[in-house]
Symmetry: C2
Subunit: 318 residues, 2 copies
């Protein structure tokens, strides 16, 4: 797919994946409403079976779109964690050999799950440069089809289905708030709101210690992170040339939150919803708490994007 | 209601409460299936909004059955935790003043939630004797209607609706496994299976450190716990004269698990389902793991009964 997903592309993606993955619930809590001074509607992507994140949506859509010839070549991707798990599981279910380039320092739980799902891990040094070089090397050796974790319109159309479901379940949302890393979920959400509920604002939460998307949005060109310092390990990549223009056109704002705010939001979600949302998954709720006057008494949808926590390293208990 | 709930009583209870509380999801995980060597179907009562446990089912059914005169008198109950929270919340929503007798050493999170929901807490010393004395004292002073947390047929009929929903969602279950404390959930589950799916076995999990129900079932009379030593703080009460006969007639067996087994099962559920199941809520899954040869390749429903954990005291991190 070589164009920005249309409304019909997102409808098609949803039909393609809906028979393979369950609809995640939307949860509410009086305590969260009180804390945010708003009607908080949580889309529980962290409860996605087996993989614990929304990433399976994009992967499923992309792999189901491959030709039989491409399937035989095998598939290759890069990821620090949640995309890797989803990629390994979906490929296994479809009988496609999968290789995932992961940084050496990736979260232990996420690595274990990739191996359990039958994925082959190739390790690289942390950072954009070494990772991309390793992907090129592996591709040259294996001839596998490379699928980028977010800078791919099939992936973006898949991620858009989370917001599509949320807007079907809660049609009167004033805003949807999601985390931003590479921008796959954010650009997909922005397109879904644009097509299915144009009056709904789309706002992102981003860790202050990796605020490249914020700087990109306000400078008008894609920025990187010279240094990275955040517990939200899923949100450190920079935007891509496919996600950025969609974000520029359809995203209203990006709110930055520091690690203490992320950790505190995370604890609230564990206590009040009883789910182990991971730091990256709590960033959107942290953003709503931080700037709650913007959402005063509004209906706000929040995508709790993932729940894969290394239980020996729970940030609010360190 | 002064009779063992009939099939119609349970259907009526379900209709009465269904418009007030959402249907909790049934979740699956490849990793849990692998660990148990069975098809594991988890009824997520720990995700019940606001109160985080199945207890709201019985409370809702009991309070909705009160006469207008009784509602004016106010209501009174006793509980170490999850019943207390549900009682306070439902009473508040119905505009009924609620008093809850709680032991001094009850879980801090459960106490905080009771107060947030507008319940009045009267503290007592731990143990059956002091608690029952305090309930009598408060009843005499206030004239409130006393509702027992489990030894009440309205409560039992309400708790039965969890298994009824589970059997509707997964009709071919070979067994349902639930935790047992006072026996409200266990007797309700046993009745639901008896009426709606008689071929489904009902088995309980119980902490070894408070194994009164096991000893009661095999001695033929209600036993207490001379000493109590378990992390499953919701399961230390003994059976009642209304729950015990139902359990004798319809429960197939009780499996005892020690604290290490509970803690390890709890960690698995946190990692694989991404929910903060509490120790008492993990007991049924611990029982399935312990005696997994009994359930080999069967379809097993497990009620994950509650998710209220004091996050500063997570057993598997102590």
């Amino acid at each position: 797919m070589d164009r920005i997903p249309t409304k019909q592309d997102i409808i098609d993606a949803h039909e393609r994946i809906a028979e393979h993955i369950p609809r995640t619930p939307v949860m509410r809590s009086e305590a969260l409403d009180r804390a945010a001074d708003a009607g908080v509607h949580c889309k529980m992507e962290c409860l996605m079976p087996d993989v614990g994140s929304f990433k399976i949506r994009g992967v499923m859509n992309a792999l189901l779109s491959l030709s039989p010839q491409d399937r035989k070549r095998g598939v290759l991707t890069q990821s620090s964690g949640n995309h890797a798990q989803a990629f390994a599981l979906v490929a296994k279910k479809m009988g496609i050999p999968a290789t995932i380039v992961m940084p050496r320092n990736a979260n232990a739980i996420k690595k274990r799950n990739v191996l359990e799902f039958g994925g082959r891990i190739v390790e690289c040094e942390p950072g954009d440069g070494p990772r991309e070089q390793m992907v090129l090397d592996v591709q040259r050796k294996t001839g596998a089809v490379t699928i980028h974790p977010f800078n791919d319109y099939r992936i973006i159309a898949g991620q858009a289905t989370a917001a599509k479901e949320l807007l079907e379940d809660v049609p009167d949302l004033d805003a949807i708030v999601v985390p931003v890393g590479g921008g796959g979920l954010l650009s997909g959400t922005a397109l879904a709101a644009h097509y299915f509920s144009p009056q709904t604002k789309v706002i992102a939460g981003e860790p202050s210690g990796a605020d490249d998307a914020y700087r990109s949005l306000y400078s008008g060109s894609i920025q990187g992170n010279p240094t990275v310092d955040t517990i939200a390990d899923g949100l450190i990549t920079k935007l891509g040339d496919k996600t950025f223009p969609i974000i520029q056109q359809h995203v209203d704002d990006i709110i930055r939150v520091d690690d203490e705010e992320i950790s505190s939001a995370m604890r609230q979600l564990w206590e009040r919803l009883r789910v182990t949302v991971e730091p990256s998954g709590a960033v959107a709720y942290a953003a709503v708490l931080k700037e709650n006057s913007r959402f005063y008494r509004q209906n706000v949808g929040i995508i709790l994007s993932g729940g894969n926590v290394d239980l020996d390293r729970i940030p609010f208990l360190q």
